[in-house]
Symmetry: C2
Amino acid sequence: MASVIKVNLPQQFYDIAIAPGSLDQLGEYMTSLHLGKKVLLVSNPVIFQLYGERAIASLKAASFEVASYILPDGEHYKTLASIENLYNTALENRLERSATMVALGGGVIGDMTGFAAATWLRGINFIQVPTTLLAMIDAAIGGKTGVNHPQGKNLIGAFHQPRLVLIDPDVLQTLPTREFRAGMAEVIKYGVIWDAQLFAELEASQCLDEMGYIHSELIDSILTRSCQAKADVVSKDEKEAGLRAILNYGHTIGHAVESLTGYTQVLHGEAVAIGMVAAGQIAVELGMWTQQETQRQDALIEKAGLPTKLPAGLDIEAIIEALQIDKKVKAGKVRFVLPTQIGAVTVTDQVPADIIRQVLVRM
Amino acid sequence: MASVIKVNLPQQFYDIAIAPGSLDQLGEYMTSLHLGKKVLLVSNPVIFQLYGERAIASLKAASFEVASYILPDGEHYKTLASIENLYNTALENRLERSATMVALGGGVIGDMTGFAAATWLRGINFIQVPTTLLAMIDAAIGGKTGVNHPQGKNLIGAFHQPRLVLIDPDVLQTLPTREFRAGMAEVIKYGVIWDAQLFAELEASQCLDEMGYIHSELIDSILTRSCQAKADVVSKDEKEAGLRAILNYGHTIGHAVESLTGYTQVLHGEAVAIGMVAAGQIAVELGMWTQQETQRQDALIEKAGLPTKLPAGLDIEAIIEALQIDKKVKAGKVRFVLPTQIGAVTVTDQVPADIIRQVLVRM
């Protein structure tokens, strides 16, 4: 089943194309966009070995001139130094303004390639070919690009919309189970914040923690409903002035957990899972959400094989301190996205530190 | 005399306010924009010593919390490393998304501060307080920000529009004569490409090379007509898709000259002056422009105390090679802006290398 989701922004629009086997049609998809001939394909060693040749073959068949650059794998390399390497490669290959950078990989590759594309010659074309569940349904959509500062995730970045997001669900077959589960955290998030129908479909499934045991119809639904949710929200709020903040559900505590564990011990999706459990509890403490619905959320998180507890040994005061340097801080106040019912959330900066502390102590 | 020029862009608008003594009203001007309380003032040592205290006093009087950061002076420091220092300062001062970076200085300070503002937290507020003639009438307007790559000027950057450009003509009194003249190169450029009336006013003046000997009415006219020309062009073409290319008149050869002389020997405006002389000659060779009007242009350039010859010892083949890595290259072809009459230009990528060589040899 192939589907196309339209992302309509004030000055731009682009497609999210979801189709099995579409990796081999990358060149064809790009031809219709009238881009320049030069393409820089950016990937990591693992993904490039699995899918690089097919992507390049498809691009060459469509008459693109292709260079490729392999960034080292992992959040640890999501730095300005990596971006400088991309700039040097862009220069060596004489990438002009009509050229295109294609990100073939997960969120880290997408964020970095997007930032390099945003800032090379003040912005060149950019295409996302996400290969992880997380990147497919979240990171690749919406134009957020960037790298980490030694003291905080994604503090450096730019908004730069892709010209196309091409999703080939078949590549999920090689995704490690732990990363598949991490992606499911954001799927569950869309269920809680936006799409009660998606939440219900997830609840109805026997299994959520292994790609191979999930019915292909549910995989379709997970991809299309999640991408649609993200597209709906970013179309209404390209630059995070308001509505888009709801996508940060689970991310306030989540980012602090990631940051304090050095971006290595806990995957982003796992941190978001922990953050959603915390946010749910905070909402209950504030009388905004029912204990029963919180439990339904937490049951889904557990069914997806995701953590619901803080990593052992994490200092709670350090978490509270880390919240202060998050991008979501406004006028010194930490902003939380809190559920009010399944499918709906609210945003508040009125959460007393004591409530945060109390909830974290229990986790 | 105070004037306000409106810059209207599809998703944004801002004022260029030109008023003597306005440096002391910076805080008031900013209050009307409803920005967050935190301000990071970025300057260089010379300008900060001359005007930093007045700017800070005005900001504090308007209840802003002000931090400042002094970047070393000069194009040599227009690097990603300087931007990293700005990121660190932003982090230390906990600049949130509602915060504002204010650039107090010339084009280098404006470009770097703008790029840091464009990429910190994916974009915070940015205000230009230009202190050189060149920055007032060109660099500060239009949202181009960036830094140099070791192998090319402004190869790294972003479009990020300021919320306000505040021009206090009084600060030109401390601008070194050589820099004033360099700014006049871009003023003459507006005369040639857009505003025949401005060209005529410049021709009518006895003196163009010393601020102190130019009638204050002409200074007014230079600032307002130049800013209006730039605002007109960028309003019609925010991201350099078409019309905006005409602003690169004199810049094709100019950038190559700057790059090959290491950005130190020749000021940007001086390089543009040389580039305009070359472009004029190329236009004549191609039968597009008259020898007589070229001479009128060159006479203005000379009257402004600007160079009309290539720096001694510059290798002409090196210039032709350098043209190939300029941002203005499209599909391998070098783009030139060429005059057809005073006040009008055309853009072409059909200039044979032999003609370029022939013109450069004569210079």
